[in-house]
Amino acid sequence: MIEFRSVRKQYDDGTVAVQELSLTVPAGTVTVLVGPSGCGKTTLLRMVNRMIEPSSGAVLLDGGDVRDSEPARLRRGIGYVIQQAGLFPHRTVRDNVATVPRLFGHGRREARRRAEGLLERVGLPSEIGKRYPAQLSGGQQQRVGVARALAADPPVLLMDEPFSAVDPVVREGLQDELLRLQGELGKTVLFVTHDIDEAVKLGENVAVLRQGGYLAQYAPPEQLLAEPADDFVTSFVGRDRGYRRLSFVDSSGLRAGSVDTVRIGDTSADVPSQAGWVLVLDTHDRPRGWLPPEATIHGQLTEDQLIAGGSLHTGGAPLRGALDAALSSPSGLGVVVDEDGVYLGVVTARQVLEILESGRHPAVSEGAFR
Protein backbone atom coordinates (compact mmCIF):
# COMPACT_ATOMS: atom_id res chain seq x y z
CA MET A 1 0.00 0.00 0.00
CA ILE A 2 1.22 3.49 -0.89
CA GLU A 3 -0.04 6.41 1.12
CA PHE A 4 0.44 10.07 0.30
CA ARG A 5 -0.15 12.13 3.45
CA SER A 6 -0.71 15.85 2.78
CA VAL A 7 2.24 15.94 0.41
CA ARG A 8 3.14 19.26 -1.12
CA LYS A 9 5.91 20.16 -3.52
CA GLN A 10 7.09 23.67 -4.06
CA TYR A 11 10.20 24.38 -6.11
CA ASP A 12 12.80 27.00 -5.28
CA ASP A 13 11.42 29.35 -7.93
CA GLY A 14 8.07 29.33 -6.16
CA THR A 15 6.10 27.11 -8.54
CA VAL A 16 3.94 24.62 -6.74
CA ALA A 17 3.86 21.22 -8.44
CA VAL A 18 1.65 19.46 -5.89
CA GLN A 19 -0.73 21.08 -3.40
CA GLU A 20 -1.41 19.45 -0.04
CA LEU A 21 -2.57 16.14 -1.42
CA SER A 22 -3.59 12.91 0.24
CA LEU A 23 -4.20 9.67 -1.56
CA THR A 24 -4.10 5.98 -0.74
CA VAL A 25 -3.09 3.42 -3.31
CA PRO A 26 -4.46 0.02 -2.25
CA ALA A 27 -2.05 -2.92 -2.35
CA GLY A 28 -2.29 -5.31 -5.26
CA THR A 29 -4.22 -2.94 -7.52
CA VAL A 30 -3.54 -0.68 -10.45
CA THR A 31 -4.04 2.98 -9.55
CA VAL A 32 -3.76 5.57 -12.29
CA LEU A 33 -2.79 9.21 -11.91
CA VAL A 34 -4.20 11.08 -14.87
CA GLY A 35 -4.27 14.73 -15.83
CA PRO A 36 -2.98 17.34 -18.27
CA SER A 37 0.69 18.33 -18.28
CA GLY A 38 1.66 20.40 -15.28
CA CYS A 39 -0.80 18.68 -12.96
CA GLY A 40 1.95 17.17 -10.81
CA LYS A 41 1.24 13.54 -11.62
CA THR A 42 4.85 12.64 -12.38
CA THR A 43 6.04 14.61 -9.36
CA LEU A 44 3.70 12.58 -7.19
CA LEU A 45 4.90 9.30 -8.67
CA ARG A 46 8.55 10.20 -8.23
CA MET A 47 8.00 10.98 -4.57
CA VAL A 48 7.42 7.28 -3.95
CA ASN A 49 10.98 6.24 -4.84
CA ARG A 50 12.44 9.51 -3.59
CA MET A 51 13.47 10.77 -7.01
CA ILE A 52 11.71 13.89 -5.74
CA GLU A 53 11.38 14.77 -2.07
CA PRO A 54 8.14 16.45 -0.95
CA SER A 55 8.46 19.92 0.61
CA SER A 56 6.08 18.83 3.33
CA GLY A 57 3.97 15.80 4.15
CA ALA A 58 5.03 12.19 3.91
CA VAL A 59 4.86 9.21 1.60
CA LEU A 60 4.31 5.86 3.31
CA LEU A 61 5.10 2.53 1.79
CA ASP A 62 3.40 -0.32 3.63
CA GLY A 63 3.14 1.94 6.65
CA GLY A 64 6.78 3.02 6.74
CA ASP A 65 7.97 6.49 5.79
CA VAL A 66 10.06 6.24 2.61
CA ARG A 67 12.42 8.82 4.10
CA ASP A 68 13.58 6.17 6.55
CA SER A 69 15.12 4.14 3.74
CA GLU A 70 18.33 5.01 1.99
CA PRO A 71 17.29 6.14 -1.55
CA ALA A 72 19.29 3.64 -3.62
CA ARG A 73 18.20 0.72 -1.43
CA LEU A 74 14.57 1.88 -1.51
CA ARG A 75 14.60 2.17 -5.31
CA ARG A 76 16.00 -1.32 -5.84
CA GLY A 77 12.87 -2.63 -4.18
CA ILE A 78 10.51 -0.63 -6.43
CA GLY A 79 10.03 -1.31 -10.13
CA TYR A 80 10.32 1.78 -12.32
CA VAL A 81 9.23 2.12 -15.94
CA ILE A 82 9.48 5.40 -17.88
CA GLN A 83 8.27 6.78 -21.17
CA GLN A 84 11.23 6.09 -23.46
CA ALA A 85 11.94 2.86 -21.54
CA GLY A 86 15.33 4.31 -20.57
CA LEU A 87 17.17 1.16 -21.56
CA PHE A 88 20.96 1.26 -21.32
CA PRO A 89 22.19 1.43 -24.92
CA HIS A 90 25.51 -0.23 -24.09
CA ARG A 91 24.05 -3.36 -22.55
CA THR A 92 22.30 -6.25 -24.22
CA VAL A 93 18.60 -6.65 -23.55
CA ARG A 94 19.35 -9.55 -21.21
CA ASP A 95 21.88 -7.55 -19.20
CA ASN A 96 19.49 -4.61 -19.06
CA VAL A 97 16.89 -6.81 -17.45
CA ALA A 98 19.51 -8.29 -15.13
CA THR A 99 20.51 -4.85 -13.80
CA VAL A 100 18.66 -4.81 -10.49
CA PRO A 101 19.40 -8.42 -9.53
CA ARG A 102 23.07 -7.57 -10.19
CA LEU A 103 22.74 -4.49 -7.98
CA PHE A 104 21.40 -6.78 -5.30
CA GLY A 105 24.61 -8.76 -5.62
CA HIS A 106 23.34 -11.82 -7.50
CA GLY A 107 25.80 -13.59 -9.76
CA ARG A 108 25.82 -12.77 -13.46
CA ARG A 109 24.70 -16.23 -14.48
CA GLU A 110 21.75 -16.33 -12.15
CA ALA A 111 20.71 -12.77 -13.02
CA ARG A 112 20.81 -13.58 -16.72
CA ARG A 113 18.79 -16.74 -16.29
CA ARG A 114 16.15 -14.82 -14.43
CA ALA A 115 16.22 -12.13 -17.13
CA GLU A 116 15.51 -14.67 -19.82
CA GLY A 117 12.52 -15.98 -17.90
CA LEU A 118 11.19 -12.45 -17.55
CA LEU A 119 11.54 -11.70 -21.24
CA GLU A 120 9.33 -14.66 -21.96
CA ARG A 121 6.92 -13.48 -19.32
CA VAL A 122 6.44 -10.10 -21.06
CA GLY A 123 5.90 -11.82 -24.38
CA LEU A 124 9.33 -11.52 -25.99
CA PRO A 125 11.21 -14.42 -27.59
CA SER A 126 14.31 -15.30 -25.56
CA GLU A 127 16.62 -14.81 -28.61
CA ILE A 128 15.99 -11.09 -28.24
CA GLY A 129 18.02 -11.19 -25.03
CA LYS A 130 21.29 -11.08 -26.95
CA ARG A 131 20.32 -7.99 -28.95
CA TYR A 132 20.94 -4.37 -28.08
CA PRO A 133 18.21 -1.81 -27.39
CA ALA A 134 18.98 0.02 -30.65
CA GLN A 135 17.92 -3.14 -32.51
CA LEU A 136 14.42 -3.24 -31.00
CA SER A 137 11.17 -1.55 -31.96
CA GLY A 138 9.60 0.97 -29.59
CA GLY A 139 7.03 -1.55 -28.40
CA GLN A 140 9.69 -4.18 -27.77
CA GLN A 141 11.79 -1.66 -25.84
CA GLN A 142 8.84 -0.91 -23.59
CA ARG A 143 8.31 -4.62 -22.93
CA VAL A 144 11.98 -4.89 -21.98
CA GLY A 145 11.50 -1.87 -19.73
CA VAL A 146 8.66 -3.66 -17.95
CA ALA A 147 10.70 -6.86 -17.68
CA ARG A 148 13.60 -4.90 -16.22
CA ALA A 149 11.34 -3.30 -13.63
CA LEU A 150 10.01 -6.71 -12.64
CA ALA A 151 13.40 -8.40 -12.48
CA ALA A 152 13.88 -8.22 -8.72
CA ASP A 153 10.22 -9.11 -8.14
CA PRO A 154 9.36 -5.81 -6.41
CA PRO A 155 5.94 -5.58 -4.75
CA VAL A 156 5.46 -2.04 -6.09
CA LEU A 157 5.69 -0.86 -9.70
CA LEU A 158 5.89 2.80 -10.71
CA MET A 159 5.04 3.46 -14.35
CA ASP A 160 5.49 6.96 -15.76
CA GLU A 161 3.69 7.29 -19.11
CA PRO A 162 5.26 4.01 -20.17
CA PHE A 163 3.23 3.58 -23.35
CA SER A 164 2.90 7.19 -24.58
CA ALA A 165 5.73 7.02 -27.08
CA VAL A 166 4.45 4.05 -29.09
CA ASP A 167 1.77 4.03 -31.77
CA PRO A 168 -1.87 3.34 -30.79
CA VAL A 169 -2.02 -0.26 -32.03
CA VAL A 170 1.14 -1.27 -30.19
CA ARG A 171 0.00 0.69 -27.15
CA GLU A 172 -3.20 -1.30 -26.95
CA GLY A 173 -1.23 -4.54 -27.10
CA LEU A 174 1.05 -3.34 -24.31
CA GLN A 175 -1.93 -2.33 -22.18
CA ASP A 176 -3.56 -5.75 -22.60
CA GLU A 177 -0.24 -7.35 -21.78
CA LEU A 178 0.06 -5.29 -18.61
CA LEU A 179 -3.42 -6.31 -17.50
CA ARG A 180 -2.61 -9.96 -18.16
CA LEU A 181 0.64 -9.68 -16.21
CA GLN A 182 -1.07 -7.88 -13.37
CA GLY A 183 -3.61 -10.70 -13.25
CA GLU A 184 -0.73 -13.12 -12.69
CA LEU A 185 1.42 -11.01 -10.39
CA GLY A 186 -0.93 -8.78 -8.41
CA LYS A 187 1.57 -5.95 -7.90
CA THR A 188 0.76 -2.58 -6.40
CA VAL A 189 0.97 -0.45 -9.52
CA LEU A 190 1.01 3.34 -9.64
CA PHE A 191 0.58 4.39 -13.26
CA VAL A 192 0.86 7.90 -14.68
CA THR A 193 -0.73 8.90 -17.97
CA HIS A 194 -2.30 11.92 -19.66
CA ASP A 195 -4.63 9.68 -21.66
CA ILE A 196 -8.03 9.26 -20.01
CA ASP A 197 -8.84 6.20 -22.15
CA GLU A 198 -5.71 4.50 -20.90
CA ALA A 199 -6.54 5.50 -17.33
CA VAL A 200 -10.06 4.09 -17.56
CA LYS A 201 -8.86 0.91 -19.21
CA LEU A 202 -6.07 0.09 -16.78
CA GLY A 203 -7.03 1.62 -13.45
CA GLU A 204 -9.02 -0.01 -10.70
CA ASN A 205 -8.89 3.45 -9.19
CA VAL A 206 -8.24 6.65 -11.08
CA ALA A 207 -7.03 9.92 -9.60
CA VAL A 208 -7.73 12.90 -11.86
CA LEU A 209 -5.34 15.77 -11.21
CA ARG A 210 -5.76 19.37 -12.25
CA GLN A 211 -3.07 21.87 -13.30
CA GLY A 212 -1.25 23.21 -10.27
CA GLY A 213 -1.28 19.89 -8.46
CA TYR A 214 -4.85 19.59 -7.18
CA LEU A 215 -6.65 16.28 -6.82
CA ALA A 216 -9.93 16.76 -8.69
CA GLN A 217 -11.45 13.32 -8.16
CA TYR A 218 -10.35 9.91 -6.96
CA ALA A 219 -12.71 7.11 -7.85
CA PRO A 220 -13.08 3.81 -9.71
CA PRO A 221 -13.33 4.48 -13.47
CA GLU A 222 -17.03 3.66 -13.81
CA GLN A 223 -17.88 6.16 -11.12
CA LEU A 224 -15.61 8.73 -12.73
CA LEU A 225 -17.54 8.35 -15.97
CA ALA A 226 -20.96 8.24 -14.35
CA GLU A 227 -20.52 10.99 -11.77
CA PRO A 228 -17.72 13.41 -12.60
CA ALA A 229 -17.07 15.53 -9.51
CA ASP A 230 -16.85 18.89 -11.26
CA ASP A 231 -16.65 20.68 -14.61
CA PHE A 232 -12.94 20.02 -14.94
CA VAL A 233 -13.36 16.27 -14.60
CA THR A 234 -16.38 16.36 -16.93
CA SER A 235 -14.42 18.09 -19.67
CA PHE A 236 -11.33 15.99 -19.07
CA VAL A 237 -13.28 12.75 -19.24
CA GLY A 238 -14.72 13.98 -22.52
CA ARG A 239 -18.04 14.27 -24.32
CA ASP A 240 -18.37 10.62 -25.21
CA ARG A 241 -18.09 9.48 -21.63
CA GLY A 242 -21.61 8.02 -21.88
CA TYR A 243 -20.51 5.70 -24.64
CA ARG A 244 -17.28 4.90 -22.85
CA ARG A 245 -19.21 4.07 -19.71
CA LEU A 246 -20.69 1.12 -21.59
CA SER A 247 -17.36 -0.57 -20.98
CA PHE A 248 -18.32 -0.81 -17.35
CA VAL A 249 -21.93 -1.91 -17.76
CA ASP A 250 -22.56 -5.63 -17.45
CA SER A 251 -24.51 -7.12 -20.37
CA SER A 252 -26.07 -9.99 -18.42
CA GLY A 253 -29.48 -8.28 -18.61
CA LEU A 254 -29.39 -8.55 -22.37
CA ARG A 255 -31.73 -11.19 -23.84
CA ALA A 256 -30.29 -12.64 -27.03
CA GLY A 257 -32.82 -13.32 -29.81
CA SER A 258 -32.49 -15.82 -32.61
CA VAL A 259 -31.97 -15.72 -36.36
CA ASP A 260 -32.00 -18.33 -39.14
CA THR A 261 -28.69 -20.19 -39.46
CA VAL A 262 -27.05 -22.48 -41.98
CA ARG A 263 -23.70 -24.26 -42.07
CA ILE A 264 -20.79 -24.06 -44.45
CA GLY A 265 -21.16 -26.94 -46.88
CA ASP A 266 -24.98 -26.93 -46.83
CA THR A 267 -26.73 -26.97 -50.22
CA SER A 268 -29.47 -24.66 -51.38
CA ALA A 269 -32.06 -27.17 -50.24
CA ASP A 270 -30.98 -26.73 -46.63
CA VAL A 271 -31.25 -22.96 -46.72
CA PRO A 272 -34.48 -21.70 -45.19
CA SER A 273 -36.88 -19.42 -47.05
CA GLN A 274 -34.86 -16.30 -47.43
CA ALA A 275 -36.90 -13.37 -46.27
CA GLY A 276 -34.11 -11.97 -44.10
CA TRP A 277 -30.41 -12.24 -43.29
CA VAL A 278 -29.10 -15.70 -42.54
CA LEU A 279 -26.14 -16.33 -40.24
CA VAL A 280 -23.61 -18.88 -41.46
CA LEU A 281 -21.84 -21.13 -38.93
CA ASP A 282 -19.01 -23.59 -39.30
CA THR A 283 -19.16 -27.22 -38.17
CA HIS A 284 -18.32 -26.17 -34.60
CA ASP A 285 -21.18 -23.65 -34.53
CA ARG A 286 -18.85 -20.68 -34.75
CA PRO A 287 -20.11 -17.72 -36.83
CA ARG A 288 -18.38 -17.31 -40.21
CA GLY A 289 -20.42 -14.56 -41.90
CA TRP A 290 -23.81 -13.64 -43.32
CA LEU A 291 -25.98 -14.45 -46.34
CA PRO A 292 -28.01 -11.43 -47.51
CA PRO A 293 -31.78 -11.75 -48.06
CA GLU A 294 -32.81 -13.44 -51.36
CA ALA A 295 -29.29 -14.76 -51.95
CA THR A 296 -29.08 -17.68 -54.36
CA ILE A 297 -26.73 -20.51 -53.61
CA HIS A 298 -25.23 -22.65 -56.30
CA GLY A 299 -24.22 -26.07 -55.07
CA GLN A 300 -22.59 -26.15 -51.69
CA LEU A 301 -22.24 -23.03 -49.53
CA THR A 302 -18.60 -21.91 -49.39
CA GLU A 303 -16.79 -19.15 -47.51
CA ASP A 304 -16.43 -16.91 -50.54
CA GLN A 305 -20.20 -16.57 -50.92
CA LEU A 306 -20.46 -14.91 -47.52
CA ILE A 307 -20.51 -11.31 -46.42
CA ALA A 308 -18.02 -10.81 -43.61
CA GLY A 309 -19.57 -10.29 -40.21
CA GLY A 310 -18.91 -7.55 -37.70
CA SER A 311 -17.30 -7.83 -34.31
CA LEU A 312 -18.56 -10.53 -31.94
CA HIS A 313 -19.95 -9.99 -28.49
CA THR A 314 -19.04 -12.45 -25.78
CA GLY A 315 -22.03 -13.07 -23.53
CA GLY A 316 -21.66 -11.38 -20.13
CA ALA A 317 -18.90 -9.01 -21.31
CA PRO A 318 -19.50 -5.25 -20.98
CA LEU A 319 -22.34 -3.72 -22.94
CA ARG A 320 -19.99 -1.73 -25.16
CA GLY A 321 -19.08 -4.94 -27.00
CA ALA A 322 -22.75 -5.74 -27.64
CA LEU A 323 -23.45 -2.30 -29.07
CA ASP A 324 -20.34 -2.50 -31.20
CA ALA A 325 -21.31 -5.96 -32.49
CA ALA A 326 -24.78 -4.71 -33.48
CA LEU A 327 -23.52 -1.53 -35.15
CA SER A 328 -20.73 -3.26 -37.09
CA SER A 329 -22.85 -6.17 -38.33
CA PRO A 330 -24.07 -5.98 -41.96
CA SER A 331 -27.47 -7.31 -40.86
CA GLY A 332 -27.79 -4.91 -37.93
CA LEU A 333 -27.86 -7.95 -35.66
CA GLY A 334 -24.94 -8.29 -33.24
CA VAL A 335 -23.79 -11.87 -32.86
CA VAL A 336 -23.41 -13.12 -29.32
CA VAL A 337 -21.02 -16.02 -28.68
CA ASP A 338 -19.81 -17.88 -25.61
CA GLU A 339 -16.20 -17.92 -24.46
CA ASP A 340 -15.29 -20.64 -26.99
CA GLY A 341 -16.74 -18.56 -29.80
CA VAL A 342 -19.86 -20.74 -30.19
CA TYR A 343 -22.99 -18.97 -31.43
CA LEU A 344 -25.55 -18.12 -28.72
CA GLY A 345 -27.91 -15.59 -30.32
CA VAL A 346 -28.21 -12.08 -31.71
CA VAL A 347 -28.94 -8.65 -30.26
CA THR A 348 -29.95 -5.31 -31.77
CA ALA A 349 -28.62 -1.87 -30.96
CA ARG A 350 -32.14 -0.95 -29.78
CA GLN A 351 -31.99 -3.67 -27.11
CA VAL A 352 -28.73 -2.21 -25.79
CA LEU A 353 -30.22 1.26 -25.64
CA GLU A 354 -33.35 -0.01 -23.93
CA ILE A 355 -31.26 -1.56 -21.18
CA LEU A 356 -29.47 1.74 -20.68
CA GLU A 357 -32.68 3.76 -20.66
CA SER A 358 -34.47 1.48 -18.25
CA GLY A 359 -31.54 1.92 -15.91
CA ARG A 360 -32.05 -1.55 -14.55
CA HIS A 361 -28.54 -2.63 -15.48
CA PRO A 362 -26.67 -3.92 -12.47
CA ALA A 363 -23.51 -2.04 -11.43
CA VAL A 364 -20.45 -3.47 -13.01
CA SER A 365 -18.97 -6.33 -11.09
CA GLU A 366 -15.30 -6.27 -10.15
CA GLY A 367 -13.11 -7.04 -13.12
CA ALA A 368 -16.01 -7.61 -15.50
CA PHE A 369 -14.19 -5.74 -18.20
CA ARG A 370 -10.98 -7.60 -17.86
Binding site: L74, Q84, F88, P89, H90, R91
Partner: protein, 232 residues
Protein backbone atom coordinates in the same frame (compact mmCIF):
# COMPACT_ATOMS: atom_id res chain seq x y z
CA UNK B 1 60.60 16.69 -58.16
CA UNK B 2 58.65 13.60 -57.17
CA UNK B 3 61.66 11.53 -58.08
CA UNK B 4 63.87 13.68 -55.86
CA UNK B 5 61.55 13.22 -52.93
CA UNK B 6 61.37 9.49 -53.62
CA UNK B 7 65.14 9.35 -53.79
CA UNK B 8 65.44 11.13 -50.46
CA UNK B 9 62.91 8.83 -48.84
CA UNK B 10 64.49 5.70 -50.27
CA UNK B 11 68.00 6.58 -49.17
CA UNK B 12 68.68 4.25 -46.20
CA UNK B 13 71.16 6.76 -44.79
CA UNK B 14 68.27 9.11 -44.06
CA UNK B 15 66.44 6.53 -41.97
CA UNK B 16 69.03 5.42 -39.48
CA UNK B 17 71.19 7.15 -36.92
CA UNK B 18 70.48 9.78 -34.30
CA UNK B 19 69.07 12.27 -36.81
CA UNK B 20 67.37 9.61 -38.92
CA UNK B 21 63.71 9.27 -39.83
CA UNK B 22 63.14 6.27 -37.58
CA UNK B 23 64.38 7.95 -34.45
CA UNK B 24 62.65 11.25 -35.18
CA UNK B 25 59.37 9.48 -35.93
CA UNK B 26 59.68 7.65 -32.66
CA UNK B 27 60.36 10.92 -30.79
CA UNK B 28 57.47 12.63 -32.57
CA UNK B 29 55.14 9.83 -31.56
CA UNK B 30 56.51 9.74 -28.03
CA UNK B 31 55.96 13.47 -27.43
CA UNK B 32 52.43 13.28 -28.78
CA UNK B 33 51.42 10.22 -26.81
CA UNK B 34 52.97 11.67 -23.68
CA UNK B 35 51.18 15.00 -24.12
CA UNK B 36 47.78 13.42 -24.78
CA UNK B 37 48.14 10.95 -21.92
CA UNK B 38 49.28 13.67 -19.51
CA UNK B 39 46.32 15.83 -20.52
CA UNK B 40 43.92 12.89 -20.35
CA UNK B 41 44.96 11.90 -16.83
CA UNK B 42 43.50 15.16 -15.57
CA UNK B 43 40.98 16.06 -18.26
CA UNK B 44 39.04 12.77 -18.29
CA UNK B 45 38.32 12.64 -14.54
CA UNK B 46 37.53 16.36 -14.56
CA UNK B 47 35.23 16.00 -17.58
CA UNK B 48 33.47 13.04 -15.97
CA UNK B 49 33.01 15.00 -12.77
CA UNK B 50 31.64 18.07 -14.54
CA UNK B 51 29.36 15.99 -16.75
CA UNK B 52 28.12 13.87 -13.87
CA UNK B 53 27.41 16.71 -11.48
CA UNK B 54 26.66 19.43 -14.03
CA UNK B 55 28.87 21.76 -12.02
CA UNK B 56 31.26 24.00 -13.92
CA UNK B 57 30.01 23.22 -17.42
CA UNK B 58 30.24 26.91 -18.34
CA UNK B 59 33.96 26.75 -17.58
CA UNK B 60 34.48 23.88 -20.03
CA UNK B 61 33.06 25.89 -22.91
CA UNK B 62 34.83 29.13 -21.99
CA UNK B 63 38.16 27.40 -21.43
CA UNK B 64 37.84 25.40 -24.63
CA UNK B 65 37.11 28.50 -26.68
CA UNK B 66 39.95 30.48 -25.13
CA UNK B 67 42.56 27.80 -25.80
CA UNK B 68 41.23 27.31 -29.31
CA UNK B 69 41.95 30.95 -30.07
CA UNK B 70 45.56 30.72 -28.85
CA UNK B 71 48.05 30.69 -31.74
CA UNK B 72 50.06 27.50 -31.28
CA UNK B 73 53.24 29.00 -32.69
CA UNK B 74 53.02 31.88 -30.20
CA UNK B 75 52.48 29.50 -27.30
CA UNK B 76 55.41 27.31 -28.34
CA UNK B 77 57.86 30.15 -28.96
CA UNK B 78 56.76 32.00 -25.81
CA UNK B 79 57.24 28.99 -23.55
CA UNK B 80 60.52 28.05 -25.19
CA UNK B 81 61.89 31.52 -24.69
CA UNK B 82 60.80 31.80 -21.08
CA UNK B 83 62.21 28.40 -20.19
CA UNK B 84 63.84 26.30 -22.89
CA UNK B 85 63.04 24.26 -25.96
CA UNK B 86 61.68 21.28 -24.08
CA UNK B 87 59.13 23.56 -22.41
CA UNK B 88 57.28 23.22 -25.71
CA UNK B 89 56.16 19.86 -24.35
CA UNK B 90 54.12 21.77 -21.79
CA UNK B 91 52.49 23.65 -24.66
CA UNK B 92 51.46 20.31 -26.16
CA UNK B 93 49.79 19.27 -22.91
CA UNK B 94 48.01 22.61 -22.63
CA UNK B 95 46.71 22.27 -26.19
CA UNK B 96 45.57 18.68 -25.70
CA UNK B 97 43.74 19.42 -22.48
CA UNK B 98 40.60 21.28 -23.65
CA UNK B 99 39.89 18.82 -26.47
CA UNK B 100 39.88 15.85 -24.09
CA UNK B 101 37.98 17.79 -21.45
CA UNK B 102 35.21 19.00 -23.74
CA UNK B 103 34.98 15.58 -25.44
CA UNK B 104 34.55 13.85 -22.09
CA UNK B 105 32.09 16.42 -20.84
CA UNK B 106 30.09 16.35 -24.07
CA UNK B 107 30.07 12.55 -23.92
CA UNK B 108 28.59 12.40 -20.44
CA UNK B 109 26.21 15.19 -21.31
CA UNK B 110 24.99 13.29 -24.37
CA UNK B 111 24.11 10.12 -22.47
CA UNK B 112 20.33 9.70 -22.92
CA UNK B 113 18.65 11.41 -19.98
CA UNK B 114 16.06 8.65 -19.71
CA UNK B 115 18.77 6.00 -19.26
CA UNK B 116 20.31 8.01 -16.42
CA UNK B 117 16.87 8.59 -14.93
CA UNK B 118 16.14 4.88 -15.13
CA UNK B 119 19.49 4.08 -13.51
CA UNK B 120 18.63 6.37 -10.64
CA UNK B 121 15.13 4.97 -10.37
CA UNK B 122 16.45 1.43 -10.21
CA UNK B 123 18.61 2.30 -7.25
CA UNK B 124 22.08 2.77 -8.70
CA UNK B 125 24.35 4.86 -6.48
CA UNK B 126 25.99 7.96 -7.90
CA UNK B 127 29.24 6.07 -8.52
CA UNK B 128 27.44 3.10 -10.08
CA UNK B 129 25.62 5.46 -12.45
CA UNK B 130 28.90 7.05 -13.46
CA UNK B 131 30.80 3.81 -14.06
CA UNK B 132 28.05 1.55 -15.32
CA UNK B 133 25.94 3.95 -17.39
CA UNK B 134 27.52 7.32 -18.06
CA UNK B 135 31.11 6.32 -18.82
CA UNK B 136 30.34 3.50 -21.29
CA UNK B 137 27.87 5.68 -23.16
CA UNK B 138 30.19 8.69 -23.12
CA UNK B 139 32.99 6.74 -24.82
CA UNK B 140 32.27 7.67 -28.46
CA UNK B 141 32.52 11.40 -27.78
CA UNK B 142 35.26 10.95 -25.20
CA UNK B 143 37.38 9.11 -27.74
CA UNK B 144 36.48 11.79 -30.28
CA UNK B 145 37.99 14.30 -27.89
CA UNK B 146 41.15 12.21 -27.57
CA UNK B 147 41.43 12.02 -31.37
CA UNK B 148 40.99 15.77 -31.67
CA UNK B 149 43.63 16.29 -29.01
CA UNK B 150 45.98 13.99 -30.88
CA UNK B 151 45.46 15.90 -34.16
CA UNK B 152 46.24 19.12 -32.43
CA UNK B 153 49.32 17.75 -30.72
CA UNK B 154 50.64 16.02 -33.86
CA UNK B 155 50.51 19.33 -35.72
CA UNK B 156 52.00 21.33 -32.89
CA UNK B 157 54.86 18.88 -32.37
CA UNK B 158 55.88 19.48 -35.98
CA UNK B 159 55.87 23.22 -35.30
CA UNK B 160 57.76 22.85 -32.02
CA UNK B 161 60.84 21.67 -33.90
CA UNK B 162 61.34 25.35 -34.64
CA UNK B 163 62.23 25.95 -30.99
CA UNK B 164 64.41 22.87 -30.79
CA UNK B 165 62.05 20.03 -29.89
CA UNK B 166 62.92 16.86 -31.77
CA UNK B 167 60.64 14.89 -34.04
CA UNK B 168 59.86 14.89 -37.73
CA UNK B 169 59.44 18.65 -37.70
CA UNK B 170 63.13 18.87 -37.03
CA UNK B 171 63.92 17.25 -40.41
CA UNK B 172 61.58 19.73 -42.07
CA UNK B 173 63.01 22.82 -40.40
CA UNK B 174 66.57 21.68 -41.07
CA UNK B 175 65.71 21.03 -44.70
CA UNK B 176 64.36 24.55 -44.88
CA UNK B 177 67.51 25.99 -43.34
CA UNK B 178 69.72 24.35 -45.97
CA UNK B 179 67.11 24.98 -48.71
CA UNK B 180 66.65 21.31 -49.57
CA UNK B 181 63.09 21.01 -50.73
CA UNK B 182 63.38 17.22 -51.12
CA UNK B 183 64.10 16.83 -47.40
CA UNK B 184 61.36 19.31 -46.42
CA UNK B 185 58.78 17.63 -48.61
CA UNK B 186 59.83 14.18 -47.42
CA UNK B 187 59.50 15.28 -43.81
CA UNK B 188 56.11 16.85 -44.56
CA UNK B 189 54.90 13.61 -46.15
CA UNK B 190 56.12 11.62 -43.15
CA UNK B 191 54.44 14.06 -40.75
CA UNK B 192 51.17 13.72 -42.66
CA UNK B 193 51.44 9.92 -42.83
CA UNK B 194 52.19 9.60 -39.13
CA UNK B 195 49.24 11.83 -38.24
CA UNK B 196 46.84 9.86 -40.43
CA UNK B 197 48.23 6.58 -39.15
CA UNK B 198 47.90 7.53 -35.49
CA UNK B 199 44.36 8.79 -36.13
CA UNK B 200 43.54 5.43 -37.73
CA UNK B 201 44.95 3.60 -34.72
CA UNK B 202 42.83 5.75 -32.41
CA UNK B 203 39.79 5.09 -34.59
CA UNK B 204 40.49 1.37 -34.23
CA UNK B 205 40.93 1.77 -30.49
CA UNK B 206 37.58 3.56 -30.35
CA UNK B 207 35.93 0.59 -32.06
CA UNK B 208 37.48 -1.71 -29.48
CA UNK B 209 36.53 0.39 -26.49
CA UNK B 210 33.04 1.57 -27.37
CA UNK B 211 30.42 -1.04 -26.47
CA UNK B 212 28.64 -2.54 -29.47
CA UNK B 213 25.22 -1.38 -28.33
CA UNK B 214 26.43 2.22 -28.21
CA UNK B 215 27.99 1.92 -31.67
CA UNK B 216 24.60 0.79 -32.99
CA UNK B 217 23.01 3.95 -31.61
CA UNK B 218 25.73 6.08 -33.21
CA UNK B 219 25.23 4.33 -36.55
CA UNK B 220 21.45 4.66 -36.32
CA UNK B 221 21.34 8.36 -35.55
CA UNK B 222 24.18 9.09 -37.97
CA UNK B 223 25.94 11.08 -35.30
CA UNK B 224 29.64 11.13 -36.03
CA UNK B 225 31.58 9.40 -33.26
CA UNK B 226 33.92 12.34 -33.27
CA UNK B 227 31.79 15.15 -32.01
CA UNK B 228 32.85 18.67 -32.68
CA UNK B 229 36.09 19.21 -34.54
CA UNK B 230 38.77 21.22 -32.91
CA UNK B 231 41.39 23.31 -34.57
CA UNK B 232 44.83 21.83 -34.87
Amino acid sequence: MISEIAAWLLDPAHWTGGEGVLRQSWLHLLYCVFAVCAAAVIAIPLGLYIGHTGRGSVLVVAFGNAVRALPTLGLVTGLAMLYQGSAALAALVVLAFPAVLSGTYAGVNAVPADAVDAARGMGMSSAQRLWQVELPNALPLLMGGVRNAMLQVMATTAIAAYVGLGGLGKLLIEGQAIRHYDQMASAAILIALLAVLVDLVLAGLTRLLVPRGVMLVVAETGAGPRGRREQR
